[in-house]
């Protein structure tokens, strides 16, 4: 435990001193491996194992789609279209970013692909419209958690497989908390942007407004077809999310090149390299996060933590709170995939004993580990958003913390102590009784 604390301390010190986050995690891995006398043999293979998973490929491709849509003119037209409807409402564009993350959640199974695609498109656009760039980055990062709360979700699949629960049941359990998150974020967005010099569309008569909507719909039709192609491909039973991500590139490129004529061969190559670089710097960070997780697992540190936390009280309410603290802690130091596997196998038996409904626990875990993706120090999604937004940590950390504490923490507590929030939909569809 002391070693873990030293490792985490090292991580934070190196990070704030400007060591690239990935290398700071590498230093932590090096420290833990030395402290626990673990050969390098354990370290690299575990990372390679997870890198070669084809599901990880969704990340570069969604980043690529985002980049191509931005540079190829599809994004501008798409946002013009949405803006023609909500552009007269204060903070409308911020709400659009939140809802876009949720919609994107129904395509991809992870936060990282959501932040990649939506962040690339929305952050520059929000800034153009008077939003603070750091705030826009924080908003998209926090809202990207919706990427895994809205089904399909990779971590819920893992939870279901590990605890023998029904997968659709687990997926539905996080939808209630997801909607609560959307509502809270839209309200927060309205108030947090009050002092920003937002550009709103000029007031217009209803007929002028309708005309504006019609014009932008026509202009955006090629872009509007893209979500339909992706969603249609997935829910029409033609392709898996990974395949859809790869294949939709084949739609975006010709449209940007030949229809909107805003993409050149050279620009395409640049987009490829930039998507790969964004993915690469994220993956190298995950690489070391995975190694750290493996070392902690081998040393059975989380088991110790869980045993300690559960020994504190017999009261159900207190234990639930402690479980939240534990999950939050896991989320702060581990990646969400490993965290899910770990927390599910460690805590599930305890939860059963306490009489917590398995799908209720699924939702608690989903929300907590979703939040974990943006809570420092292990906050891959937050850092990725910062990189995509091109802003320094000091300008997005504060709004991000406000959104986490004020927006996401209440969702965590609501999910924990209000079982119906997560169980309503599974019950409605017959997955819980």
């Amino acid at each position: 435990m002391t070693d873990l604390a030293i490792g985490l301390g090292l991580l934070v010190i190196l990070m704030v001193n400007g060591v690239p986050v990935a290398m700071a995690f590498g230093a932590m891995a090096l420290y833990l491996a030395t402290a626990f006398d673990m050969g390098s043999a354990v370290l690299i293979p575990t990372a390679f194992y997870q890198l070669k998973s084809v599901v990880l490929l969704t990340i570069p491709f969604f980043i690529l789609i985002g980049t191509l849509m931005s540079s190829g003119g599809l994004a501008v037209r798409l946002i013009d279209f949405v803006n023609s409807m909500v552009g007269r409402i204060r903070g409308g564009l911020g709400a659009v970013a939140v809802v876009a993350c949720a919609m994107f959640g129904s395509i991809g199974g992870s936060c990282s692909s959501a932040v990649a695609a939506i962040g690339t498109i929305m952050i520059p656009r929000m800034e153009e419209n008077g939003y603070d760039r750091g705030y826009a980055t924080a908003l998209v990062a926090c809202a990207s958690i919706l990427g895994q709360l809205i089904p399909p979700s990779v971590s819920m699949i893992l939870f279901a497989l590990i605890t023998y629960q029904s997968i659709p049941g687990c997926w539905l359990a996080t939808v209630g908390p997801a909607f609560l998150t959307i509502i809270i974020f839209c309200i927060f967005n309205y108030f947090m942007t009050r002092k920003m010099p937002l550009k709103l569309l000029p007031k217009a008569s209803l007929s002028e407004q309708l005309k504006g909507v019609a014009t932008s719909t026509v202009k955006a039709s090629w872009a509007l077809a893209l979500p339909m192609i992706i969603l249609g491909g997935i829910y029409g039973g033609i392709a898996t999310p990974t395949e859809s991500a790869c294949v939709s590139v084949l739609y975006v490129i010709p449209v940007s090149m030949f229809v909107y004529k805003s993409l050149t061969m050279k620009g395409l190559g640049k987009a490829f390299v930039s998507a790969a670089t964004t993915t690469g710097v994220l993956v190298i960070m995950l690489f070391f996060v995975m190694i750290n997780t493996r070392i902690m697992t081998m040393e059975q540190l989380p088991q110790e933590m869980a045993a300690w936390i559960l020994s504190i009280s017999d009261d159900k309410m207190v234990i639930l709170l402690m479980v939240n603290v534990f999950l939050l802690g896991i989320g702060m130091i581990m990646d969400d995939i490993s965290g899910t596997i770990l927390a599910a196998s460690l805590l599930f038996p305890v939860m059963k004993k306490l009489g917590i409904h398995p799908l209720h626990f699924a939702a608690m875990l989903g929300v907590n580990l979703g939040l974990g993706n943006v809570t420092p120090p292990t906050a891959p999604i937050l850092y990725l958003a910062g990189r995509i937004g091109g802003v320094r940590i000091e300008s997005y950390l504060k709004p991000a913390l406000i959104l986490m504490v004020g927006g996401l923490l209440p969702v965590v507590l609501a999910t924990t102590y209000w079982a119906d929030l997560s169980l309503f939909l599974p019950r409605l569809f017959g997955f819980a009784h």
Partner: protein
């Protein structure tokens, strides 16, 4: 690697990473650890790991390298293609035959020992996971005609793909973690390669039919890293071998019981379950078609080895 510092003290790491507790698999590795620790008055102690450690293919690698000492796990053919022989369809179709093939005195045992030895592992015994089948959502299919046009996910192993296409299905390749999504959106109609327990765990809400084709009996290994084994003294080796052999023996009955139990659970959950053993003609037809895929394994596994198996199950050798 086991440290043998003070007074012959040994620390071993044992793992099973497919099914978390509560499961027969975790119970088994925990029992092994407890029995050995007790028999040595705490001289040999264990760290026991479950699915939080790694996936099974990686566990194979960890045992080969000695990062983990003992595993209960399916075998990965990444380091030795001969393990593909375990994927040969229809080596056996009943639990009695399975015992004669993979039990402690079974005809497969000498081969398995030799192959394990070549990949730096000591074979301690086989764990019979049970027979496998296919789960479907559109309609049941027990014959080639009925299976026509049904897309199913199969494990990306040549012998399985071959078997399922010979059985009339259209095999489809999708990563395991995307299977539930793919079934619920209709990219595929169902999944092959799981037994009643796995089907109940993964797909009871996604599929409506479970066809117990008995296409293969899933065999896992109890195996130990060879260097760790060699470091033990003779008495400890004997003890570990004995304790694991007891587990392997007990599992033969356990596999049948588990298959039957979960087929009933699937039925109770509302799925239509068809056991091809209840339709001998259909099973015989499937067996004949499935075994025609062994030819493919001749090149991968080696004809010498496949012929040994053929001889043991009274198949003609060409």
């Amino acid at each position: 690697a086991p440290g043998q510092a003070q007074a012959g003290k040994v620390k071993l790491k044992i793992a099973q990473t497919v099914f978390p507790a509560p499961s027969a698999h975790m119970d088994s590795v925990k029992r092994i650890a407890d029995k050995v620790t007790k028999a040595t008055d705490g001289r040999i102690t264990f760290k026991v790991y479950g699915p939080e450690l790694a996936d099974w293919a990686e566990l194979n690698e960890m045992v080969m390298r000695g990062d983990i000492d003992i595993m209960l796990s399916p075998l990965s053919p990444s380091y030795d293609p001969r393990w593909n022989a375990l994927y040969a369809p229809y080596i056996v179709t009943t639990y009695k035959e399975a015992k004669d093939a993979f039990g402690p005195d079974g005809f497969m045992n000498p081969m398995l020992k030799e192959w394990a030895d070549d990949t730096n592992m000591i074979w301690l015994g086989a764990w019979l996971q049970g027979f496998t089948g296919v789960s479907l959502s559109e309609r049941p299919a027990a014959t080639v005609e009925e299976a026509k046009g049904i897309k199913i996910r199969t494990t990306p192993i040549a012998a399985y793909e071959c078997c399922w296409s010979k059985l009339g299905f259209t095999p489809s390749l999708i990563p395991y973690s995307e299977v539930p999504t793919a079934i619920s959106t209709g990219v595929v109609d169902g999944q092959a390669g799981g037994g009643p327990f796995q089907t109940y765990s993964c797909c009871r809400d996604l599929n409506k039919y479970f066809m117990f084709y008995r296409d293969s009996v899933e065999v896992w290994a109890y195996a130990m890293n060879k260097d760790a084994w060699n470091k033990l003294d003779a008495k400890d080796r004997e003890l570990i071998a004995k304790v694991v052999a007891e587990e392997a023996q007990a599992r033969i009955a356990g596999a049948e019981k588990e298959d039957m139990e979960y087929m009933k659970k699937l039925t109770d959950y509302g799925l239509t379950v068809v056991d091809l053993a209840d339709h001998p003609k259909k099973l015989a037809m499937a067996k004949q078609r499935g075994r025609s895929c062994w030819k493919k394994l001749d090149e991968i596994v080696g004809k010498v080895w496949m012929d040994k198996i053929r001889k043991s199950v009274n198949m003609p050798i060409e």
